[in-house]
Symmetry: none
Subunit: 132 residues, 4 copies
Amino acid sequence: MIIQLDMQSELPIYTQLVNQIIEGIASGRLKPGEPLPSVRSLASDIGINLHTVNKAYTLLKQEGFILVHRQRGVVINPDSMPEITKAYMGKMRGELRPIVAEAISRGMSQEQLLQEMEQIYQEITQTDKEYD
Amino acid sequence: MIIQLDMQSELPIYTQLVNQIIEGIASGRLKPGEPLPSVRSLASDIGINLHTVNKAYTLLKQEGFILVHRQRGVVINPDSMPEITKAYMGKMRGELRPIVAEAISRGMSQEQLLQEMEQIYQEITQTDKEYD
Amino acid sequence: MIIQLDMQSELPIYTQLVNQIIEGIASGRLKPGEPLPSVRSLASDIGINLHTVNKAYTLLKQEGFILVHRQRGVVINPDSMPEITKAYMGKMRGELRPIVAEAISRGMSQEQLLQEMEQIYQEITQTDKEYD
Amino acid sequence: MIIQLDMQSELPIYTQLVNQIIEGIASGRLKPGEPLPSVRSLASDIGINLHTVNKAYTLLKQEGFILVHRQRGVVINPDSMPEITKAYMGKMRGELRPIVAEAISRGMSQEQLLQEMEQIYQEITQTDKEYD
DNA sequence: GTGGTCTAGACCACT
DNA sequence: GTGGTCTAGACCACC
């Protein structure tokens, strides 16, 4: 798992970590049951504080993406991913809405916008298949 | 222009203001050249601090959505909206990516996701046409 | 709001804080919309670190007992308390079960046990009514 | 004696073990004088560390639920179960209190709550009577 | 060794 | 002044 952090980003480090791990799951690079590095080792690997990693793991655990197994350590949830709940859909639409609004106000067509999303979808899912 | 703020949101108030004004533009409710309330009146109308409105207007001005005349006050940019620059596309893709990734990891299909975006696009653009 | 912490307890400080605030809500001493002290002031009042208070508040926020209002600070959720969800019932039963099992193995009758719970229920709800 | 451990639980494994053995006693599946597996065999049976089983047995012995004979091995205390001491009642009430408080704050009535406890009591005591 | 908790001190964004 | 974030160093419980 390669983690790329942007220390200048407005996004908190722990959020970037969460995003990258979720993208890892979405892409198939991180498979159910697969172990994640310990907070300490990941923190020292990417040169941040262990508490920052801990916060990211805690959030991922709360949402159900990962779990802490007493014997195997931190692993991608082997049983199931979080569901598409109403709460999630609400959150997702709330995040999407201002992005779409700005695109419209800049004159982007619906087709262009959908194409962008489609391309991102493809980029994420069709990651190098050497991992399968 | 009706402004709906969520004081419990994680989004800063000034960001919510910016988003709503941009959505107003996208929907056609706010037309080029149309005046916006003064910092002072908007702030007192919605019960927030002057600085907060000021920050929102400043950001909108920087991106080119509005113009601030000393005499004529604040108006929606009558000449042109911000362009679809490379910088903008990069920003937009960066925001879209984690949303798409989470949707994928929760098992949402590309079709579902595109449909969601299409619906949001429609919701914004086909706002009540009494404004035209 | 008087907070009583037991620094020798096996329960983490932030858990004790969470419990006491929830009991404050249950008893009516803390009413919907009522403000809670800031993390800093509460921390210094009870002589603990502000991060510990922060963790307690974060948990209460996640479960919906409190919310952080951008203007009014931290307040008891004025609209609604968390629901009696399936997840909550599962959690509650899982906590209750070992308590009941031990009581049975020590020879406590169902009546005694129910009476204990009833008394606790009464103790919490019939707190000194000077607060109403 | 079937032991069900949840390796993702927040409860330590040894606590889960203790709880399940006490519930076994409460239900009548484990009777006074009945032998329990040796530390070694139980550990290997359920795939956990020797120390973990040892810790559970030590706690059960300290509270008086089991006896550990050098020759006859581990047995459920044949003479008596732990008493309903003041210390125990204090501990029990302390555990019950936050559970009751949360139930109240979520709007659960005293009747509902008592009913829940009654049902758990019944579930534990009216276990399949083939064991009698 | 692991994750979990607590403390301490610092900076920043927001209002 | 508020909450949010990050760092640092420490101790403990668990396995």
